[in-house]
């Protein structure tokens, strides 16, 4: 009965088509439509969040083809939370884009909605091949958004980004093919059941497919040997796009959580948790490299890009611990880090615009005209992202740190704390260069109120997350509990035929 579950995909698609048709239309109209759709998505995602919070797993069978034969969209606590984070981030990014960045190239709002459609679809789908299709939708939109506005740096990083992700897509298809060949199904819940009854001679195929899939998700999440595309692409992307890209790495983290906790959960017998040691050690390596990258960055946008990498390392370490407490902590941290790093990308651009020729490079230049307000936002953003106590980063880190067992703590604590220190050193050095070791001047472009609104919206989330920490932590704990037992999901999708159509 409820068509609400499919709305996060249908609504942006309809809006995108309308926006692409009015390609040369009035900018105000396009902005209004883009903003209205994004706000509507926020409302829908809040409704879905409330619907999922009860703990019932619902699904929407497209064309009323019942699973495991048709493609289904599944709504559980995890997917509802991810939808909510995405729409919060999207509102901030669209607000910022209305300040003028959307008119630097064509079709910004239409492509943006298409990318939202891909992201939402990837979070909702319950079918492995459909996950591939939505990955392609969001990637194709992201290729175009990355080069929005043009410029050498963007084109060059887009070539790397596109080629790497096309190769990743080929690997994804190999992996899907292997898993289908071995289990005979593409529905993830059905596959979870098939894996538990797997004949011994097919085990090798499933292991190969599962680890190939890990490579693909690792490429999306930017884990250690596969992260080289990220800093340059994120640092050169247009600011609202870079902000939205803050959730792209989290799609990789989400996909790892979803596939390996459901298909290779505790019903999988010898195949249970086959990704764990890979994810754990690679995430620690990512943390270490990202810490060095943060210290070495000579540009504010590059610095923030490496901070994204720090968050990826932290989140995947939580995945690698593979305990419900760790998942609860990492989901809390995920909400915080997505919104704050998104806000920092927007803020970096505002600072760069006001510094004129020096841009976002960390050299002596002139002090931004609105130094007080920008400095205050920078302080909030840096404290949140580095994980200093009064703001939300610290809460997420403490939850993750207390989740590991003693052997894991031995590795995780020093690395996480050292990376945090690197971030503090780099951010305070960057802040003092930008706001103090520069000449005062009255020049510099003025900033549009839209840009202030977008950045403020995202950075205000950090103090808000502290105030709402209780309910959110309760929700993430319930999510982790729901994830740790794949049986209810399998039953809800396969046996119960009373689901909404």
């Amino acid at each position: 009965m409820s068509h609400l579950i499919v709305m996060p995909i249908v609504l942006p698609l309809a809006a995108a088509v309308a926006l692409l048709l009015t390609r040369f239309g009035n900018p105000t109209l396009k902005r209004g439509l883009g903003l209205a759709t994004t706000l509507a998505l926020l409302v829908i995602s809040i409704m879905l969040l409330r619907q999922a919070a009860g703990g019932e797993i619902q699904y929407y069978a497209l064309g009323n083809w019942q699973p495991p034969f048709g493609i289904i969209m599944v709504l559980d606590r995890l997917s509802a939370l991810m939808l909510f984070v995405t729409s919060m981030l999207a509102v901030g990014a669209v607000l910022f884009a209305c300040g003028g960045d959307d008119e630097k190239g064509s079709n910004f709002h239409g492509l943006f909605q298409l990318q939202l459609m891909g992201i939402n679809g990837a979070f909702l789908t319950g079918d492995l091949f459909n996950l591939f299709v939505f990955f392609e939708v969001l990637l194709l939109a992201s290729y175009a958004l990355l080069v929005h506005g043009g410029g050498k740096a963007r084109i060059q990083s887009a070539v790397h980004y596109a080629v790497l992700n096309l190769a990743g897509s080929a690997l994804f298809l190999f992996a899907v093919g292997l898993l289908y060949g071995a289990t005979g199904t593409l529905n993830m819940a059905d596959m979870a059941q098939a894996v538990s009854q797997l004949p011994g001679e097919r085990q090798g195929m499933v292991i190969a497919g599962a680890l190939l899939l890990l490579v693909v998700f690792g490429l999306k999440a930017a884990v250690l040997p596969l992260y080289f595309w990220l800093p340059r692409a994120y640092a050169s992307a247009p600011p609202p796009v870079a902000a939205l890209f803050a959730v792209m790495t989290k799609i990789g983290v989400y996909a790892i959580l979803r596939v390996y906790w459901l298909v290779f959960g505790d019903q999988a017998g010898p195949l249970e948790a086959l990704e764990q040691s890979w994810v754990w050690w690679l995430s620690l390596g990512t943390l270490a490299i990202a810490g060095i990258g943060v210290l070495a960055a000579r540009d504010l946008r590059l610095l923030v890009a490496y901070l994204v990498l720090v968050s990826v390392g932290t989140l995947l370490a939580g995945v690698g611990m593979r305990s419900p407490e760790a998942v609860s902590g990492l989901l809390f941290y995920l909400v915080h880090t997505t919104l704050v790093t998104g806000g920092l990308f927007l803020l970096a651009d505002m600072i760069g615009v006001q510094r004129g020729k020096a841009g976002t490079r960390l050299v002596r230049g002139r002090i931004p005209r609105n130094a007080t307000a920008l400095g205050l936002l920078f302080l909030i953003g840096s404290m949140a992202v580095a994980g200093l106590p009064p703001l939300s980063g610290a809460l997420g880190k403490v939850m993750l740190m207390s989740a590991g067992d003693s052997a894991q703590r031995l590795w995780f604590w020093p690395l996480l704390l050292a990376t945090g220190l690197c971030a503090i050193v780099a951010l305070s050095r960057a802040g003092s260069t930008l706001f103090w070791r520069s000449q005062a001047s009255d020049d510099g472009d003025s900033l549009s109120p839209w840009q202030w609104a977008g950045t403020g919206w995202l950075l205000a989330s950090s103090p808000l997350l502290v105030i709402l920490a209780g309910p959110l932590a309760g929700y993430t704990e319930a999510t982790a509990e729901q994830l740790s037992d794949p049986q209810p999901m399998i039953q809800a999708v396969l046996i119960d035929q009373g689901g909404d159509q």
Binding site: V147, I155, Q156, A158, A170, L173, F174, G181, L186
Partner: protein, 114 residues
């Protein structure tokens, strides 16, 4: 037939991978295309190879698995669109950067190889 099929897929994938690791954009795009052909063949074989079976279920027991065919169709469409995009991106990079290196390096670079 299985052996021939496997060798074909393997050779396509290997050639695609080799070309993808080249330094210029044209071989890279060709490599991506070859890799996607290999992927399509691989996906197709995942339902098991059937000789002389009917394409859809018509009551007889000997029919080929229809799902990989649907998957391959989707993969072909997506792969085709992606190749078109990669070609345009490569041309744009050639125009903006002044050379067709994947890294956009300067033309007078000594170590330049094809």
């Amino acid at each position: 037939m299985e052996m021939l099929y496997a060798i074909t897929t393997g050779v396509l994938a290997a050639s695609g991978l080799y070309l993808m690791l080249r330094g210029r954009t044209f071989p890279v795009v060709v490599g991506l295309t070859l890799l996607s052909y290999a992927t399509n063949l691989f996906l197709f074989s995942m339902g098991g190879l059937t000789t002389g079976g009917s394409a859809i279920i018509d009551g007889k027991s000997n029919y080929s698995d229809p799902l990989p065919q649907a998957l391959v169709l989707t993969a072909i469409v997506i792969g085709f669109a992606m190749t078109a995009f990669a070609v345009i991106l490569a041309m744009r990079a050639r125009g903006d950067m002044g050379n067709d290196h994947v890294d956009g390096r300067k033309a007078e670079d000594k170590e330049e190889r094809r």
